[in-house]
């Protein structure tokens, strides 16, 4: 199912660029994302509290919990879309509270996010949408073209490259969102329910891609309710499973 040639070529390209960002990480110290006694509540009430966590470089995390327990909220705290109600969140060693809007924009170029509701620019083609992170950060489009093509092949969207997002199926949108999150070869990948709308085979394929990236040193966190996916991953990678339950973030036992 997975062509080894393609995989290698893809990896090489990603490594090429990730050298740069890896250096940046080293200069900044070894911390990527750090929670310190974090609590968050919306107007409705507190979702969780006393959450302390450090995402070490190269780690692989799953985040589970019932619907409405706060998985998406947790991820939003990770990429600065929310500021915690109390406690401290640090992204690349900077306290989110102290970061300017531009700082957050720059940090996001090193964090690939797959939103639960995948949104795109509906007037641009899929290809242009996938290249958007590059465009926005001022990269030359040309030199990333091979990378883009390969990524599209991986997520099975090559034939839809010129379609507009409203013409995509639900699963296609989800795969496109994952591809867009990966195109900048970010240090951290946060994916919110990235396989909710794809069939089992495709979800295995996407998982393999994420595991490959993790092997290359990327830090990965996936919020999902799909226990089958977690079980499948555990066969290939040392993944920690976090569970939000009873307003606490807990490490899930070996029962998964």
């Amino acid at each position: 199912m997975i062509e080894t040639n393609g995989k290698l070529r893809h990896n090489r390209l990603i490594i090429l660029r990730s050298d740069l960002s890896a250096k940046a990480v080293r200069q900044k110290g070894r911390k990527l994302i750090e929670f310190e006694r974090v609590a968050h509540s919306y107007s409705g009430g507190e979702l969780f509290n006393e959450v302390s966590l450090r995402l070490a470089p190269g780690s692989f995390h799953f985040l589970t919990g019932p619907s409405g327990s706060g998985k998406t909220t947790f991820l939003k705290l990770c990429y600065g879309a929310l500021v915690p109600s109390s406690g401290v969140v640090r992204i690349f060693d900077d306290d989110v509270r102290q970061m300017s809007r531009d700082d957050i924009a720059l940090a996001r170029r090193r964090v690939g996010v797959v939103h639960q509701d995948c949104q795109f620019l509906d007037h641009l083609t899929l290809r242009e949408n996938l290249a958007l992170p590059l465009t926005v950060s001022g990269h030359e489009a040309l030199d990333d073209d091979a990378n883009l093509k390969e990524l599209m092949g991986w997520v099975g969207l090559t034939s839809r490259a010129d379609a507009l997002p409203p013409e995509l199926s639900g699963g296609e949108r989800q795969r496109a969102a994952l591809a867009r999150a990966l195109i900048m070869s970010p240090d951290v990948i946060l994916a919110d329910e990235p396989t909710g709308n794809v069939d089992w085979e495709m979800s295995q394929r996407l998982l393999t891609l994420l595991i490959e990236l993790n092997r290359m040193g990327k830090t990965i966190m996936i919020a999902t309710h799909d226990l089958g996916l977690i079980r499948a991953a555990k066969n290939h990678v040392q993944a920690r499973v976090l569970r939000i339950s009873g307003r606490r973030l807990q490490l899930a036992g070996a029962d998964l």
Partner: protein, 300 residues
């Protein structure tokens, strides 16, 4: 220099950034259209103001500020009374100059009534004194009283006064024109601000996606600002051209021909029109900037 540089950079723009804003939006068309319509109206209001201004100047200069004093007296006292009246007039506030008319001038004045062959010598004609008022004018009743006291044979006739209302009419017309221009400019600014806000609200998803993939505020704002500024510039330029063309179709403005018949612009005033699109672009730039930064601040 660096201002010019950044204006040029802005106009050239970042093609990539602008692509992020959906190409056809009704809000953009709305901006083009309102800029054009407003520019068109401004051209007319401007022409009206300038023509009314010219009119007011001419009338007040040439006509409104003259009056006559007529002295009827026995021949022997005529010279003395004339001199006395001129003295009174010279010391009256609001009188710029006073001058006794010569016989020839009086004959010319009377020609419409008696023909040029009037036997003036046979007549005991009154002496006429032409009075030129200052801009503020004199107090007619006060002057009449003083003349009655000092020059028994003098009669003040400030008949030309009837043009006063005309002059003030022309002035208020000019004021109306300028008020309209200011109003239209304000309305245009407000409309472009609202259109920009509407565009940003309609493109909330675009902005959210851009933020998500790491675009800076200035990058996003720039795309919108450029779009709206250039569209306002284009719309206003079109409207101004159209308005100027319409003005050319009106009977032309000439110094001699009539008072208000020519509503057109004269000479250097045509260059004022160039300011209209430039001002529209500046208004659009500032309005969009404000709207964009307000919208962006509400997003994470």
């Amino acid at each position: 220099m660096s201002v010019l540089r950044s204006v040029i950079d802005f106009a050239i723009g970042d093609a990539q950034a602008e692509k992020a804003v959906p190409p056809t939006g009704f809000t953009v068309r709305l901006t083009v259209f309102s800029a054009a319509a407003m520019a068109f109206l401004v051209v007319f209001a401007l022409a009206l103001s300038l023509a009314a201004g010219r009119l007011a100047d001419r009338w007040s200069d040439e006509l409104a500020r003259s009056a006559t004093v007529r002295i009827s007296a026995p021949a022997a006292q005529m010279a003395a009374q004339t001199e006395a009246a001129l003295n009174v007039l010279r010391t009256t506030e609001g009188v710029e100059s006073a001058r006794a008319l010569s016989l020839e001038e009086q004959r010319a004045l009377l020609a419409p009534w008696f023909g040029p062959e009037l036997p003036l010598d046979a007549l005991q004609l009154p002496q006429m004194i032409e009075v030129i008022e200052t801009a503020s004018g004199f107090d007619g009743d006060g002057l009449r009283l003083r003349l009655a006291g000092e020059v028994p044979g003098a009669v003040l006739d400030n008949h030309a006064r009837w043009r006063g209302p005309l002059v003030s009419a022309a002035s208020s017309l000019r004021l109306l024109g300028w008020v309209s221009i200011v109003l239209i400019a304000l309305a245009t600014g407000a409309m472009i601000t609202l259109a920009a806000n509407a565009a940003l609200a309609a493109n909330a998803q675009v902005i959210a996606v851009m933020r998500l993939v790491g675009a800076r505020d200035s990058y996003i704002a720039q795309a919108f600002m450029r779009r709206f500024t250039l569209r306002a510039l284009a719309g206003a330029a079109g409207g101004t051209l159209f308005g100027a063309f319409a003005l050319l179709l009106l009977p032309s403005a000439s110094e001699e021909g009539g008072f208000l018949t020519g509503l057109g612009l004269q000479g250097a005033h045509w260059f004022l029109l160039i300011l209209i699109p430039i001002l529209a672009a500046v208004v659009a730039f500032l309005a969009t900037r404000l709207a964009a930064h307000n919208t962006l601040r509400s997003l994470t």
